[in-house]
């Protein structure tokens, strides 16, 4: 769906997200933003700066610090003709919002036999290494990916961030988008004009013949760095970003693994019972008879995220770990 590169500009991920919101708010008067410090402050990450100046405080609404309350208000507004974009400052605060997401937003359409619709978008963050300790660093996308009725997107580039967000806003189901807060200043080419990235379509970020590296969110950058390092060794990695965990583009992932005969998943959620585990199982089931090695996973260490840089850096997947794991899988250890 992306337009040709003519007119593409280099933007940060924050700028791309802001552009997506501005375009959707111009296009559809039902779209509005609800969250803490979203208006004049433009959020602590300054992702939304400038929007309130264009759209006013009726459409960029600062809320009290009441995540469950304003997410619930988002659900009700979505049911009655609005398209709210709810801002949950840190993914770690999802715990406060979970009933509204998992029991209300996710289930209304099904429980009502398809009558009620909840076109709600929730934007939130994931990702460690910001030295923010255990309650501001988690990657909790597995929580919501587990709940039927919710769609879940994790952009890895500015272009995807823009296209996925626009698709989410136009979707009639609730969508939760996780942005890696370490990536807001990451730059990348963003196509000009109106485009969306459909939910449920993986993107091959780098083609390769020897091993399939499935990476999500900021782990894509890490996977591309590992691939660059492994290329000269004669190992060509195919790096694929599913872009959405729900719906999951299993066909693309499985087809790649069948071709390369090897696969590894890198995801920043905890390894245990995580998104990485689900993707690995999906690939193992679908490509088993083609595989030359077990499917592996790299994820966050199963500990709360520690504060000290000396410790925190031990908890997240690294380029070196991925390089070693890929070499092992390709019998080049």
């Amino acid at each position: 769906m992306s337009t040709p590169d003519a007119g593409a500009r280099e933007l940060t991920m924050a700028q791309a997200i802001r552009e997506a919101l501005a375009e959707e708010m111009r296009r559809d008067p039902a779209v509005f933003i609800l969250g803490e410090d979203v208006a004049e402050a433009g959020t602590p990450f300054k992702v939304l700066s400038g929007l309130v100046e264009e759209f006013g405080t009726d459409r960029v609404i600062d809320t009290p610090i009441s995540e469950a309350g304003f997410t619930g208000i988002g659900v009700g507004a979505a049911m009655t003709g609005r398209r709210p974009v709810v801002d949950i400052m840190f993914g770690d605060f999802l715990g406060l919002v979970m009933d509204q997401l998992a029991n209300q937003a996710a289930k209304a359409h099904y429980m009502s036999g398809g009558k009620l619709r909840v076109p709600l978008t929730v934007r939130t963050t994931l990702g460690a290494t910001r030295r923010s300790a255990a309650q501001h660093s988690q990657s909790l996308h597995a929580w919501v990916s587990h709940i039927p009725g919710l769609k879940v997107a994790l952009p890895s580039t500015p272009a995807d961030a823009k296209g996925l967000l626009k698709a989410a806003i136009r979707d009639d189901s609730p969508v939760v988008i996780f942005e890696d807060k370490m990536n807001y200043q990451q730059r990348g080419l963003v196509p000009a004009g109106d485009y969306t990235v459909p939910l449920g379509v993986a993107d091959v970020k780098r083609p390769g013949r020897d091993i399939t590296v499935i990476a999500t969110s900021s782990m894509v950058e890490l996977a591309l760095a590992a691939a660059a390092q492994l290329g000269p060794e004669g190992i060509e990695c195919e790096v694929i970003d599913p872009r959405t965990t729900v719906p999951l583009d299993a066909a693309t992932l499985v087809a790649s693994a069948q071709r390369t005969t090897r696969a590894i998943v890198v995801d920043e959620g905890h390894r245990r019972y995580g998104v990485g585990a689900e993707i690995a199982a999906t690939v193992a089931e679908g490509a088993f008879f083609h595989l030359d090695a077990p499917v592996r996973r790299l994820g966050a260490l199963d500990v709360p995220v520690p504060f000290s840089p000396a410790l925190e850096d031990l908890t997240v997947p690294t380029v070196d770990q991925l390089v070693v794991a890929v070499r092992e899988l390709c019998d080049r250890a």
Partner: protein, 339 residues
Amino acid sequence: MTPARGAADPSPLARKRARKRPGPDWLRAYERMLKIRLFEDRVNDLYQRGRMPGLAHLSSGEEAVAVGVCLGLRDDDYITSTHRGHGHCLAKGAAVDRMFAELLGKAAGYCGGKGGSMHIADQERGNLGANAIVGGSMGIATGAALSSKQRGTDQVAVCFFGDGALGQGLLYEVMNMAALWRLPVLYVCENNLYGEYTPGTETIAGEALARPRAFGIPAAEVDGQDVRAVHAATGEAIDRARAGGGPSFLWCNTYRYSGHHVGDVDRAYYRERDEERLWREERDPLALARAWLIGDGLTTPATLDQVHAAVTVEVDAGVAFALEADYPDPSKVDADVYA
């Protein structure tokens, strides 16, 4: 035991305002209350005969709250409801046959059998759904009010919840926002004195009405057994909401005649037979309405008997329809997960 909180008559001002408004069709209000009563009787019967899957929470005894509130609403006004929601749904105008079908898990039900007793939604009449999470719909109702305000309509949203739901923090979050943003929402607490098997006296500290008032939300206590009183208080609140005056809170004193759910039969350990008898015999919303309808010359016993006969026929037909209706096709199991 007598009702825990004094049952207040509508204020003189409320009565005056109510008189100015075109009077409601009280006979219709009576008919709706009766429909709820007979509906719930049949639900209990279906349960006892093993014809209904799962459980249901009956609202017999609380009819005047649902009907008194919904009498003042338009079809396009919103309500959100609770696990004890049959009455709200009927009061908002739902059809008994499709409700019974939903309760029996049939395809013809309001939700195609996917919701059941605790999740009936009837969006055509603004019913955004019953909710099995205590307090779970407070955000939804408040959001619907924000939506009407943003769209520039004068629709209002009514959020029904029980006294037990006062324990949910969500209420205080959304009342705060509703007050800050002057949202057209009415919080209606059905104080039936218990949350499951625990009396409110053990769970509610201080004055319940002080809670909305702390947010600057006008709050009134109403005799929930008197449909006129409920209607009058609701009318004031709805007028205020439609005129941009923001949220209100109604505390309706009422009582559920039967158990917490249809299976809650032995209740002696948490409430006394005498208390139940007193409410049934002296505070029954149908008996009270019948008395003043006849006393004030608004109707005759013969007319009320006709209403009773007609509603009985309607409810019995609804049960028969639901019993004969088909179960959903297995192919529906994974339909409507996503819109």
